[in-house]
Amino acid sequence: MFDLERWQEIFDTIRKNKLRTFLTGLSVASGIFILVVLLGFGQGMQNGIAREFAADASNRIWVWTEVTTKEYKGLNPGRPIQLRNENHAYIQQHFSEELEHKSPVFRVRNVQVNYGNEAVGYSVQGVSSGYQFIENEYMSQGRFINQSDEENASKVAVISNKIKREVVTKGEDVMAEFLDISGIKFKIIGVYGDMGGEREEERIFIPISTAQRVFNGADRINNLSYTFQPAATFEEAVAESIAVENELTAYLKEAHIVAPDDTSAVSTWNSLEEAKRYYSLTGNIKFFFWFVGICTIIAGVVGVSNIMLIVVKDRTREIGIRKALGAKPWSIVGMILQESIFVTAISGFAGLIASMGLLELVGPNIEVDYVENPSVSFTVAFTTVIVLIIAGAVAGFFPAWRAAKIHVVNALKDE
């Protein structure tokens, strides 16, 4: 390997057979290039999905109700189920350990919202203070609804950055203004923003107690929403959330006399369960990219050994001449292997640098849903190149060995 004379001999050969060398190198380099780019995008998708989940607190549970679909305890199907304050109160007390933030949601329907003389076309929801954290809202100005607002049924409202931008026209301080909801004045006490962007900023929040009292809600609730207490590991969090979800559903079904197997009367959506599905999806995607990548590598190796076979055939006469002049079999094997390893290594690293360069350059600028900053760890890529080189050497050994066994007399025969 460290025989300088041998290296000089190989460089001579490479220098004088540029096209052949170039083609061999190209196939190796493009194989590595494709693999690294694929792996990069696999990582990018994982990053992207992680980002999508970062938008909301990703450990929340959401409860809604519909009509019953099964007969139960003498009650006919088709009966609407209505969540009530007492349900929330029970859950709040009963699951105080497991749940972190808690808020019922009451949707105020058929109301006209005005700011000054302008109509504001957004929906109004009654919520508790915890809803800020459930939806992961940050405050741009002022504060969110708090405990005392709810206790006092204060006529206060929280609007979003988007709404503020649309209604404020004269540069006035929005915090000193009022919203007119069906003729009742609500003082604006805060402006929120959402990590998920503007499509998550289309609601006006008021205290749930106010909403129920002012807009004939009585003790009715549309949804329940909670976040779980953080757990040590992702797996634990998922397991715990599923347990709570099941218990909670069982309680609600019992309280409303719903058949235990009636899946549509009381429904829950557990983001952790969803997240788990996505995470395993990214796992699958990653696996798929690896699979494709490894196929590419195998194709590359087959390509290299194929090229080597052709090279050996191409060089049969030359090898015969060298043997007649005194080349030993192992020096022929060494010559051919060393040349191919050298070419594979150089072009492999060229492909590596090119693809990593591309990811480095283009990666951060990619702004697509579910793909973020495609990148690949250098160790992984480096290992791949090493594997390719070793595989190439193994695959190249057989043609080389065959070359070394060529019978001089046959090799030199004139066709």
């Binding site: 007649a324 080349a327 030993k328 079999p329």
Partner: protein
């Protein structure tokens, strides 16, 4: 003169499917150091087969072959390669130069397999190229050379390792007669310096430029005679 090559009862046959083709049927002859021997015979008489065995590119089925006192038998590939490199120089009808290497690099190649350093190799190769009159052509590729020039490069390559014996198979087969004589003149000059040379040919005039002719027919030596050498220089202006 010491004996350079000793052949005793040499047999060789090729297996062709189920039946064997007996090509060499018990050859006996000796070659002394400094001889210039022509091996003649019709096509298929086994001339090349004999030369390949002498050149350790092929092995006989039975019989003895002693080269400069060294018995040549049961050689593995590595040993045979070593012996070829040290003891023998080959000249072929179709030159067999490596087409991507310059004349100089071609000539230097046997020295590479002797483990000689690059600089020494090139110096020595250049010296031999000068001897065959091609010093100015040292950096040309084979396809930039004429047939005669290529064969001269091949002769320089055969000589550069200072072998005990030069083996030439139809070395003038691809050349016109004038060029053939020029190449033979060079070979005679090399022989004059004391080198042992075996030439396979079926051209009478070429054979008569040697000092001895061995006639092969159907795998046996039918005639082995010393002749009066015709100097190629008589034909070359």
């Amino acid at each position: 003169m010491p004996t350079m090559i000793e052949i005793k009862d040499l047999h060789k046959s090729y297996q062709m499917g189920s039946n064997a083709l007996h090509v060499l049927k018990g050859l006996n002859f000796n070659v002394e150091e400094g001889e210039l021997v022509a091996i003649m015979g019709s096509s298929g008489s086994g001339k090349s087969t004999l030369l390949n065995i002498l050149g350790m590119l092929d092995v006989s089925d039975s019989g003895e072959y002693i080269l400069d006192g060294v018995p040549i038998k049961n050689l593995n590939e590595t040993k045979a390669a070593q012996y070829r490199n040290k003891f023998l120089g080959f000249i072929f009808q179709s030159f067999n130069l490596i087409n991507y290497k310059t004349a100089l690099e071609n000539v230097a190649l046997p020295l590479y397999y002797q483990g000689m350093g690059r600089k020494v190799r090139q110096e020595k190769a250049l010296k031999y190229l000068e001897q065959v009159g091609l010093k100015e052509w040292s950096h040309h590729l084979p396809n930039e050379l004429s047939g005669g020039q290529k064969q001269r490069v091949a002769i320089a390559r055969a000589m550069v390792g200072e072998p005990k014996v030069l083996l030439a198979d139809e070395l003038t087969g691809a050349l016109d007669s004038i060029t053939s004589y020029e190449v033979m003149e060079l070979l005679q000059k090399i022989n004059d310096q004391g080198n042992t040379i075996l030439v396979v040919t079926h051209e009478d005039d070429i054979a008569h430029m040697c000092k001895r002719i061995v006639h092969l027919r159907d795998g046996i030596i039918v005639k082995d005679e010393k002749i009066k050498q015709v100097r190629a220089s008589e034909y070359v202006q």
